[in-house]
């Protein structure tokens, strides 16, 4: 019985995480991004384990604060947020639904799973606007560390590509 009650609380916390968004890519929740590793409950304290995307990602602090706000607003009192570095976050953890949302937002989601086997130049990156595969790499670093900048040779629009990581 006690265990069931605990599970209800933990599930509630998981559900709440679906409404915590990445401030830099506001269409993706932290669940879509796959950065919530675990949620545990002990002695009435809820502990959220998150994995940073990039070491220097400036929004991790904002995300932690937003997690805290979401939980506080829903009756959680004792909240602990723990950053877990290992295993290191990878774009493979981004859920399919998240990738679709990213695409609709105008950012091409990461292609494939292998991080360092393919060089950026060899990838066929689809333009999120006209869906052409005739695109070129402009810069390996885009508006944030997690993205590269591409341009479509057909519609000529520049666009962001979320790099495999």
């Amino acid at each position: 019985m006690e265990e069931t009650k605990q599970n209800v609380t933990i599930n509630k916390a998981w559900k709440l995480m679906e409404d915590v968004y990445d401030p830099e890519i506001p269409v993706l929740s932290i669940i879509d991004l796959g950065i919530v590793r675990d949620i545990q409950l002990s002695n009435d304290a809820i502990e959220i384990f998150i994995t940073p995307t990039y070491s220097g990602c400036p929004v991790m602090d904002v995300i932690s604060m937003n997690i805290r706000i979401a939980l506080t607003e829903n009756g959680f009192k004792k909240i602990k947020i723990t950053q877990q570095l290992s295993p290191a976050w990878t774009t493979d953890w981004m859920i399919e639904n998240g990738k679709e949302k990213l695409k609709a937002y105008g950012i091409t989601p990461p292609i494939g799973k292998s991080f360092d086997k393919k060089y950026l130049e060899e990838l066929k990156v689809e333009c999120p606007h006209c869906h052409s595969l005739n695109t070129k790499l402009i810069s390996q670093f885009g508006s944030t560390a997690c993205k590269a900048l591409y341009q479509c040779n057909d519609c000529l629009e520049p666009f962001d590509y979320f790099k495999c990581h």
Binding site: Y54, S55, G56, C57, S86, A88, S139, Q140, F141, A145
Partner: protein
């Protein structure tokens, strides 16, 4: 033993912070927008890595030691970074050459540190390695572009090579605190990664039409790991630490 681990962690933190700070000096001054953004992003990665190391170093001490204190309130003599990370940026070619040689070192180094018996160092290495892979790729392409580019770019990257090369020897000479951690597999034996580094550096230089300096007589600068620095670190810290020195305990 504990103090060796603390010093070793600081050495790794100081490397990333100092290099990250130097690269951040390009922010707003890059030769073109995309490269300005790229180098600022690389700086951000490095500063993020240094935070992970400083947080770990602080955790090894009592509560009075914080990551901010370690980064912003130590003097030059206490910094343990490699000298290559503190020397001034110079022109774009020199910045690129510094980053290329240093990133390639970090790449070879982190590949070993992920097997460290110290779980936290291994975790930071695993995280950092992914980022550094991009730094190596980006800086290698620039070395090739400059070396195999115009007469002017070739002249500049060659000069950069001459200026930066004497700072590479130190990478492969362990400090005492580092050596003492090798036996229990906490630290990486840096003398063992030299061949890997050399191979990677050589192949990029070759593509860039540059030659690898084989001269064994090059005087190699050392001291950084033990707190003996060039005069440039003091100026770097004066700027980087200004806020914490002027407004102690300031947070935002």
């Amino acid at each position: 033993m504990e103090n060796n681990l603390f010093n070793y962690t600081l050495h790794l933190a100081d490397n990333s912070l100092t290099m990250g700070h130097r690269l951040s000096e390009w922010t707003g001054h890059g030769p073109m927008l995309e490269q300005d953004i790229a180098i600022s992003n690389i700086a951000l990665d490095l500063i993020g890595q240094s935070r992970n190391f400083y947080q770990y170093a602080a955790a090894l001490k009592d509560d009075s030691v914080t990551e901010d204190l370690l980064a912003y309130l130590r003097d030059a003599r206490e910094f343990k970074n490699l000298l290559i990370t503190e020397i001034p940026n110079g022109d774009w070619a020199k910045t690129i050459m510094k980053l290329f040689l240093f990133s390639t070192y970090q790449f070879c180094f982190y590949q070993k540190l992920i097997d460290s018996s110290d779980k936290q160092l291994a975790a930071i290495a695993e995280k950092s390695l992914k980022e550094v892979t991009y730094h190596v790729r980006w800086s290698s392409e620039w070395v090739i572009r400059l070396g195999d580019g115009t007469e002017e770019s070739n002249k500049r990257i060659k000069l950069a090579m001459e200026e930066v090369w004497p700072f590479t020897g130190e990478m492969f000479q362990p400090a005492e605190y580092e050596s003492l951690l090798i036996n229990n597999r906490i630290s990486v034996d840096v003398s063992e990664i030299k061949n890997d580094w050399m191979g990677r550096v050589k192949s990029v230089l070759e593509e860039a039409t540059l030659s690898y300096p084989e001269d064994k007589n090059t005087w190699m600068q050392t001291g950084g790991k033990n707190g003996i620095h060039t005069e440039h670190l003091g100026y770097l810290l004066a700027e980087m630490q200004f806020l914490q020195r002027a407004y102690p305990g300031c947070e935002w």
